[in-house]
Symmetry: C2
Subunit: 678 residues, 2 copies
Amino acid sequence: MKPLLALAVLLAAPLAHAAEGMWTLDRLPLERMKSELGFEPDAAWVDRAMKASVRLAGGCSGSFVSPDGLVLTNNHCIVDCLTGLSTAQKDFLNGGFLAAQRSQELQCPAVELNRLEQIEDVTARVNAATQGLSGRAFNEARNAEKARIESECGSDKTVRCDVVELYDGGLYHRYRYTRYQDVRLVFAPEYDIGFFGGDPDNFNFPRWNLDMALLRAYEKGQPAKVRDWFRFSSEGVKEGDATFVTGHPGSTQRLLTVAQLERRRDIDLLHALSSYSERRGWLYQYSKLGTEQARQAQQDLTFTENSLKVISGQLNALLDPRLIAAKREAEAALQSGASPEQKAAWSEIEAAQRAYRRLWKPYRAIEERGGFYSRHFEIARHLVRAAEERGKPNGERLREYQDAALPQLTQRLFSAAPIHVEFEKAKLEWSLTKLREWLGPDDPFVKLVLGKESPAQLAARLIEGTRLAEVATRKALYEGGLEAIAASQDPFIRLARAVDGPARAVREQYESEVEAAEKKAAEVISRLRFAKLGTSTYPDATFTLRLSYGVVKGWEENGRPIAPFTDFTGLYSRQTGAAPFRLTPPWLERKAQLTLNTPFNFVSTNDIIGGNSGSPVINRKGEVVGLAFDGNLHSLGGAYWNDPLLNRMVAVDSRGMIEALRSIYGAKALVQELQPPR
Amino acid sequence: MKPLLALAVLLAAPLAHAAEGMWTLDRLPLERMKSELGFEPDAAWVDRAMKASVRLAGGCSGSFVSPDGLVLTNNHCIVDCLTGLSTAQKDFLNGGFLAAQRSQELQCPAVELNRLEQIEDVTARVNAATQGLSGRAFNEARNAEKARIESECGSDKTVRCDVVELYDGGLYHRYRYTRYQDVRLVFAPEYDIGFFGGDPDNFNFPRWNLDMALLRAYEKGQPAKVRDWFRFSSEGVKEGDATFVTGHPGSTQRLLTVAQLERRRDIDLLHALSSYSERRGWLYQYSKLGTEQARQAQQDLTFTENSLKVISGQLNALLDPRLIAAKREAEAALQSGASPEQKAAWSEIEAAQRAYRRLWKPYRAIEERGGFYSRHFEIARHLVRAAEERGKPNGERLREYQDAALPQLTQRLFSAAPIHVEFEKAKLEWSLTKLREWLGPDDPFVKLVLGKESPAQLAARLIEGTRLAEVATRKALYEGGLEAIAASQDPFIRLARAVDGPARAVREQYESEVEAAEKKAAEVISRLRFAKLGTSTYPDATFTLRLSYGVVKGWEENGRPIAPFTDFTGLYSRQTGAAPFRLTPPWLERKAQLTLNTPFNFVSTNDIIGGNSGSPVINRKGEVVGLAFDGNLHSLGGAYWNDPLLNRMVAVDSRGMIEALRSIYGAKALVQELQPPR
């Protein structure tokens, strides 16, 4: 499961089943936990769980696992860092990394960690600001008020405030985080064991992945000292034990209306299925050009393959007639007794879907850069827009250029991670053919971009003429502002300038006719839901901290029981010597030193989704017993509902991690840091 | 539109609208034609239309256009011939071909033409043979009786008899053809004009394609003398004129039940969307390896891109709630008043869909060779099976090895068309990763095929060790029969032998549990339909000769009228110099010699589908006024219904063909052959 790729509860029924739910930490279902698990966490437990958990701002979860700022997450969550630090000569993604001592820890080019400190309800303020407005005016007022609330946290870069919409705008909360932007690489295993089984085994179980990595947060050049952290358990878990996951599920769509779900199925997912499949095919073949090309394309290919499993899991869920029938039933129940004004919300959402059908192609291709699959274009877009937006009052800017967002934006903009020119050219050329396909060769925007050039000719000219690969060029353009942008002859800057008008226009249309309309109607539905169901329900995932509780448990697949644990014995019998079932020399040479029946991976009923990758799995004592890294195939319908019989989280067992660190990697100091004497 | 990829009328309502329908030539809707067109063809007109039309057995249509066996079809229908005759040094697909005189006409490696001579009703014989049977016994009896009826035509290779199932088995007819296997290339335009606009313009209109080719049928080494042929019109057509298309629509699914349509949508089309998209991506990237690699992959890439448009058009049709609602309504109407036994047919079809959901993956991957995308494997499969099947009585063989099928099979098996080793390796490696993905790495069949090898290792070993690329090796193995096959150490033969048991097993299951069950139930439904609607309806397309009538007419697209004709002026203004909007030197140099306002392409309301490619478009006088080569995007839903407002056929205008032959290609002799003095 990869970050941000998020994957989702039925319009929550009065009593959701055990294990279902991604609960915000200020509204835990304590009574339910007590009756189902015989365990009710106290305020101190919850506060520590909150502050020992971290978010990787790029789209993952993690946790502090030592008082010296050591952070546990998944290997697949730090691929950006590993490839950013790698070159053709030293390949940390495939070769792995272990800092023999702290001075050898390597700064990741662009990793930001966030630790949640405080949650405040700001619903009344946002509602007051948008009262009586709709369309563009609604959006502008909401945007401005959110920016104002966020900016009240001040300009200290180590503080990050996000206004978060919960229950589709039923509640607005301000989440205040401590921000860490100096994050260093401590340990990463080799890709072959970190992603053992590769795409064939992804989202499957039984499983044998050491999908772990260790980072360290630094403050003022020194390892961050943290009060709250999770100790590695020495006992681990057994079948039936309660497990708690504190992490950042990215996005679920469990509260969407039937019209929204159908649109998602018939447009978004179908389109994604075909475009990701095609991208997979060409990345696969690009990788055949040579080892170095394969290395350059590896991250994109893995991300694409992972996305494809998510997309087809979601499509299968939405094509399951039981799901749509259940959603219709829940929708009818919610509507019964509603006023005509309230019922109108559903028609407004349907109208917004019709608008979406008109707008989605240019919106995705132009504003969301689907037709410009290129790091260069991403950079140029941000430089051109930042120049314009930064001249405006904070509340009037596009949200990604507001003060609260700039530290993360500039960290990525000025990242020293290498950009591979030939790969960029191939990506851009391919995506320009998609731009032409999606909008049609006669579309005025396509003519504006291509003129009489073919995609290949244009991509070559852009890549050959640009200097945006140099960080200094980007910094100069960013700091030079509007004037520097206007004077730039860089072909990517010129392209980004030329397309910015049409891109903003379609965004404006999309935000007014689709987003604002959906949001306004969703608030009505949300209030109706609160009135009927109270706060016994949990909000859709929003890449904010949530707790899920569950138990270690296998499931039945076609009548065959799947046991909840695997061990190292299984790993060695599965390996073939050929990728993706290949072990690296240390694993082959040190097999005798491993205790082979050590638990390696396990499954539990915790309700998680993409973005939860890297989440700590803790026991009642607040000790790490596992590390969430995936779900089974059935979990993919979790975007829309939770199937308690089949939906499972997949985790690395804490005992397997310790055993590998000790016996394969000889990482004594780290083992001691993870399990210090009490 | 490409052959066999075909694209299908609502459960025909008592009166289908004008232009809807693919009518068999023995049951033309004469009254309807008279009332709608004021024209009722007489028996001589119909007989000549039948005998002047030809089928390209590989999946296209064509017509005789001179008494000397000259055949008109689409350029895209002879890609196999063009690539089979091409090498890296002389590329007929891209460069085109014109035989300056008959002695220079080149024999195509594997083209078979069929001219329909006679239609006989054999329904009673087949029904008697299958009376009271079901499942495997039903299949075997049907298979044997069909083989018997076909074999009664004798062993003359120039006679081909096919028993054809119409109305889903409501009728069985024997179609007797004259077979031509010596077919030679006379004229093909360059790819750039034959497929001008490429994939972006495919299935779109306005359009500017010279998608034509001329072949010649030979008998005993001499041009075939034919009595019935179509003369090229000198006047052409104008808006509103009646047009008749006699061709071979491949396959429609207009009579399927709702359960069958949903299965097609949720399984077949979704799976095809993702696998063809992925294949498109890697073929695209493979083509970037160099000009020669691009040439080798060109046919596969074009076929794949064309298929993708068909697939997504069909998916969109089946996702249109109006279509499923209309189908449900028609189904309910048919069921009303039916007996419980008759109604049971629908439940039986539903049960067959459940069986399909269990069986489709291994069936497609193993028996249909989806996991073995390789010409070598195709050859090995046929050699291994032919050896076994030819030892059996004709009626007991798998249908593709029955006597009636062997001439076409061996023509392809012994084709001298080159096989490109590196491309084969890449195709096979990729498809083996798909085999593993579809069935899972733990599947016993996958383990049987891969063992401990990776797809790359296995593909390399197979390709490097085989000699099946040599025609002589294939002939020796075919003639050596079972003994030669058993003794062969060729790695592909060994693989095909090893997988043949599992492949036959899954086919047996599929044919009994899905195919026979569907067929038996469909016959019941078909009789019910005849009882209710009489023979006012037409059968689903079956790649047999049909007549469609219509009129030259544009349509409205988003409120904007689309005019029915294009001309050469539009071609020149559309060209950019870069593929796929590029013109070749002759077109650039001889522009002044062209009469630019000559009609080039046009649209009409004729109801056609894939397989109709290459069909003659004729006027009341039986003269060629056009050449069908495509439909508009709306025509893609034609697999399931016909939308008279939007569904259009796209054709090359006869005047444009003559003008290009004369002014661009200087093909005076051909022009004279097409328009001889009366």
